[in-house]
């Protein structure tokens, strides 16, 4: 199915590494947070992009998420992985921003890299169109269903972590995921 059904949770080495780098940041090591940004920027950006559907807003949201993460580093207790903690912040940033602004339509991004794999142009175009339709449909999902689907499908977070991020039970997170798929199907008709 392409999803990590159970999720391994955080390994001890990852947890130790997360703790060490957060401690370094808190101790005043100015380069330590740069490492955090570099390791997690793509994932955070992609989450934001899927949430809002355009490059400019996604970039702003992702930057905002990292700034908030820096300010709130003392609040990282190590109970989840650093990536999950960052996802939580990014989701909250997206939820708050979407509540305030109407979404910008997805535009062609000049920074977008063209896939140069050897495939027929019509296939490439069709794939791109279908992907665009799915992204647009995801943006029309209710906020928490949208967040649930993005975190599960594209970031492969286990339902337990999604539930913790969104402040719900595991059962509610799974039900949310099912409803997201059901609504997505309706939107794609």
């Amino acid at each position: 199915m392409g999803l990590d059904a159970k999720g391994d949770g955080i390994s001890s080495s990852t947890a130790a590494d997360d703790r060490a780098i957060v401690d370094a940041c808190l101790a005043g090591d100015s380069t330590a947070f740069d490492v955090i940004v570099e390791r997690h920027r793509r994932q955070v950006y992609q989450l934001c992009f899927r949430y809002v559907g355009n490059h400019e807003d996604a970039s702003d949201l992702a930057q905002d998420a990292f700034v908030r993460a820096f300010k709130g580093l003392k609040g990282f207790k190590g109970q989840s992985s650093l990536s999950t903690w960052l996802y939580r912040i990014a989701v909250n940033v997206c939820l708050n921003r979407v509540a305030l602004k109407t979404p910008r339509a997805e535009a062609l991004d000049p920074a977008e890299r063209i896939d140069t794999r050897a495939e027929r142009p019509d296939v490439t175009l069709l794939r791109a169109e279908r992907a665009g339709e799915v992204r647009a449909a995801i943006r029309d999902l209710p906020p928490k269903q949208r967040a649930t689907l993005i975190l599960r499908v594209y970031h492969e977070l286990p339902h337990e972590e999604i539930a913790a991020i969104l402040g719900s039970s595991v059962g509610a997170a799974k039900a949310n995921f099912f409803h997201a798929l059901a609504n997505l199907k309706k939107l794609l008709r």
Binding site: L3, A5, R41, Y45, R130
Partner: protein, 206 residues
């Protein structure tokens, strides 16, 4: 056997549904259709990739985050001093603190010692330290203004107030200010002030 719930359909898609419950699908067209629809939508969602920004974007992204954090840190450290930029508020608060400090200093000089009986004792001759003749006496002797936190606050605030502002709003001393203050002192206070002034005059280098 009851139909699969929404949660159980998700578990089935993720291969975590116990086999006895999964067996329901063999005999239920409705649940098979719901499961199939969810699987097809999930597959289509997985295939929907997103455009990847250029490598230049990522370099610039890290730089912008760093700059924004730097601005945030700088504004936070200057936050408590930002009110000083408002001249009107600045002189008003500075003036209030200076008045409070003068009142506090005057109280410190004149406050009598309280005995255990609760009756304030009058200062005796033994309480007044004689000035050693020819000794290097500092006018701050006994007051230790540098260790006074209130004075430290006033000095910090005053450093930020341009002289022209303080003159304009009346904080700077006027020509007759010393005389007017002296008129308000009691006789004991005047004696003490005279003693301090004489000691300062006698101080080498004064």
């Amino acid at each position: 056997m009851t139909h699969l719930t929404d949660v159980e359909i998700v578990d089935f898609l993720e291969d975590t549904l116990p086999p006895p419950r999964a067996a329901h699908l063999e005999n239920c067209e409705s649940c098979r259709r719901r499961t199939s629809d969810a699987r097809d939508t999930l597959t289509r969602a997985i295939e929907a990739d997103i455009p990847e920004p250029s490598p230049l974007f990522w370099d610039r992204f890290s730089e912008q985050v760093r700059d924004e954090i730097g601005e945030t840190t700088a504004s936070a450290s200057a936050g408590w001093r930002q009110w000083l930029d408002h001249a009107g508020l600045r002189w008003a608060v500075s003036g209030a603190i200076i008045v409070a400090l003068i009142a506090g200093a005057a109280w410190r000089v004149t406050a009598p010692t309280v005995q255990h009986t609760g009756v304030p004792a009058q200062p005796s001759a033994r309480d007044v330290k004689p000035v050693p003749s020819g000794a290097d006496v500092s006018i701050d002797d006994g007051l230790n203004a540098d260790a006074d936190p209130a004075w430290a606050v006033v000095r910090t605030l005053a450093d930020e107030v341009p002289w022209s502002d303080s003159v304009e709003v009346g904080l700077a001393a006027r020509p007759d200010a010393a005389e007017r203050v002296a008129d308000t002192l009691t006789s004991d206070e005047r004696s003490e002030l005279l003693r301090l002034l004489r000691a300062e005059i006698k101080r080498p280098g004064a």
